[in-house]
């Protein structure tokens, strides 16, 4: 089943690669846009959830229960759930779609490695994944994109130091995206907002680490996906740009 999933990814990637004139980097970017379109409802849910959480911070009923049950965590949680239900907000709505990205990331990574086939066994596996005609003309794929080899981790050597530029861009764009969609924490003890806050720290570090360690083709996916996410959110006109500055929205 998983292998079928990978095969579908590989075939779509190869088809795009063929259409765009044998440019695998461009194929990954277009593939990411395709993934974004397919996961549009999930992203919309994420944006809606984040916006709902942000609005909730200014809700008087919400603020009142935070104060009233500040010392009774169990009761506070029950009351919070009640408010969530009443207002139709899913407290995990803003971070679940991010976690759902994991299978896509893993599948894409495996697809890139399989498509670029750096070992004989990979190339043989690739032959079993492809259903496109005239594939022998496409293989091997051109793994070069700009200054990168998409099958390998990226680093630009400047004055003798290997600078992981893509990893830094991945971490930065992930941070921006997470912060924009993160609800402002104005209420002490608000666990769901605190959880989103943690995600905005952990996710940039994690994806930055992935970008540093794994094939740079994966970084292209991360960056494209993050930029699209930021644009999608900003288009609603509710982007909280101030939240990008650490400490800008501390609880009063």
């Amino acid at each position: 089943m998983w292998d079928l999933f990978i095969s579908i990814f590989v075939n779509v990637l190869l088809w795009i690669y063929d259409v765009v004139g044998h440019n695998f980097g461009l194929a990954i970017i277009l593939f990411t846009i395709l993934i974004r379109i397919v996961t549009w409802p999930l992203n919309a849910q994420q944006i809606k959830g984040a916006a709902g959480m942000q609005e909730l911070q200014n809700d008087k009923d919400w603020q009142a229960i935070q104060k009233k049950y500040a010392k009774d965590r169990e009761k506070l949680a029950q009351e919070q759930m009640r408010v969530y239900r009443e207002k139709g907000i899913n407290p995990f709505g803003s971070c679940l779609p991010t976690l759902i990205q994991f299978p896509i990331i893993i599948a894409l990574y495996q697809s890139i490695i399989r498509a670029l086939a750096s070992t004989p066994l990979d190339l043989l596996k690739l032959s079993r994944s492809i259903t496109l005609p005239n594939v022998s003309e496409l293989i091997p794929l051109n793994s070069k994109f700009l200054w990168m080899d998409l099958g390998r981790p990226e680093a630009v050597v400047i004055f003798g130091f290997a600078l992981p530029t893509l990893a830094l861009i991945v971490a930065l764009t992930t941070y921006v995206q997470a912060k924009l969609t993160m609800p402002a924490t104005t209420t002490p003890g608000d666990q769901s907002a605190a959880m989103s806050g943690m995600m905005s720290i952990y996710m940039p570090l994690l994806l930055g680490y992935f970008a540093l360690t794994f094939a740079s083709g994966l970084s292209i996916y991360f960056i494209t996906s993050n930029i699209l996410g930021i644009v999608q959110y900003a288009m609603r006109g509710k982007a909280n740009w101030g939240s990008l500055i650490p400490g800008f929205l501390k609880p009063k």
Binding site: L99, F102, I105, I106, Y109, Q110, I113, S118, T119, P120, L121, D122, L123, L124, S127, S136, E137, I139, P140, Q191, M195, M198, M199, Y202, L206, Y209, F210, T213, F214
Partner: protein, 367 residues
């Protein structure tokens, strides 16, 4: 606190999943390379090169003595006339190493490095060709490196012949020219003395196997365009002489006027170079064929992805089969009365078969 734990767990799991599919210096990164001399089999398999006693299947040594994360081996080792074992690494250090089995380090129990060439730009996948005390080694960076073995040591600066694409197959030679195949669909002929490119032709499909010289003086090459091509070795003029059902991965094996080869769909072909026709209709053993056939006196041995060894008479009739297990992609090697095979996805790394296909011993590394 519990939610924090969930997040951290998810992140660690994600990292583990990706790490698991990143590949590393473990068995299974690709299929192993196998070579043998009179007494010893040399297996390049993942993190180590193993030397195995052909008489009983016991390990004589391994290199390196302890696992080195920068080294990964699956190129077939080459054995020089003076007994050095030369093998390239597909790991991150891109080294081509000459080991001296006659000089074992008492501490590591591994053979000492007679020399090490680190000028390659990418993975070494193919065995080097040894010709007139020169080593012609192809690298995945698209270059042919020529090293001088005259004094038993590699010169530090090899002659670099810039070709194209990933070079995964051992070069072939007729003494005058060295023929190199490339995954970028090319076949190159390089002058063996001046290193000039004599000709360069496109086949329309990647070429992961070596070219082979026929008794007729022509050069034969299989490709992922699913064709067998015949080249005029002097001019590079070529034409397709056989359409296979699927990718031709393996290097064809020559036996007089007959070429034997398989394809990834599992067909096995016998092509007569004198008549330009197939000797018989393709037969289908039981799985994909990536390994080159091993020509014996009265039959041909074929290893398949299904883990079987087929002994096929030269008339196309199966004489015997042996289910070794696992998946076999590596070309079997003959060693005296034995045939050595190296399957993947089995507990053992090597198996020795006698002339009737019976298993004589298996080799499983300790630790």
């Amino acid at each position: 606190m519990r939610k924090k734990l969930i997040i951290v767990t998810m992140i660690v799991l994600g990292a583990l999943f990706l790490s698991a599919c990143a590949g590393g210096a473990v068995r299974g990164t690709s299929w192993p390379g196998l070579a043998a001399d009179g007494q010893t089999a040399y297996l390049a398999d993942g993190s180590f090169i193993y030397a195995v006693d052909l008489s009983n299947g016991t390990e004589l040594w391994r290199y390196p003595g302890t696992r080195n994360g920068k080294l990964t081996f699956y190129a077939t080792p080459a054995i020089t006339p003076d007994g050095l074992v030369i093998v390239g690494s597909a790991g991150t250090d891109h080294s081509l190493i000459a080991l001296n089995p006659a000089d074992i380090n008492p501490e590591t129990k591994a053979p000492v490095e007679a020399w090490k060439f680190t000028g390659g730009g990418d993975h070494w996948v193919a065995a080097p060709l040894i010709l007139n005390n020169k080593l012609f080694a192809v690298n995945s960076d698209g270059n042919l490196y020529v090293l001088d073995l005259q004094d038993g040591k590699s010169i530090k600066e090899a002659t670099v012949v810039k070709l194209k694409g990933r070079l995964w197959a051992q070069p072939t030679t007729d003494g005058e020219r060295v023929y190199v195949t490339s995954l970028d669909h090319s076949v190159f002929a390089v002058n063996a003395d001046t290193y000039d490119i004599v000709w360069h032709e496109d086949l329309g499909g990647a070429v992961p196997g070596s070219a082979v010289l026929g008794a007729d003086g022509m050069l034969y090459v299989g490709s992922l365009a699913s064709k067998l091509e015949r080249f005029d070795s002097a001019t590079g003029k070529h034409q397709s002489v056989l359409d296979a059902e699927n990718w031709v991965w393996s290097t064809p094996a020559m036996d007089g006027d007959t070429l034997y080869f398989g394809d990834v769909a599992g067909n096995f072909y016998s092509f007569n170079t004198a008549t330009g026709k197939s000797n018989w209709k393709p037969v289908k053993p039981d799985g994909a064929i990536t390994a080159s056939p091993l020509v014996q006196d009265d039959h041909v041995l074929i290893a398949t992805e299904s883990g079987s060894v087929f002994a096929m008479g030269k008339d196309g009739k199966v004489l015997w089969t042996q289910q070794v297990g696992g998946k076999m992609y590596t070309t079997p090697v003959a060693a005296g009365d034995l045939t050595i095979v190296s399957p993947l996805e089995t507990e053992f790394f090597l198996a020795a078969l006698d002339a009737n296909g019976r298993q004589v011993w298996t080799f499983t590394p300790k630790n």
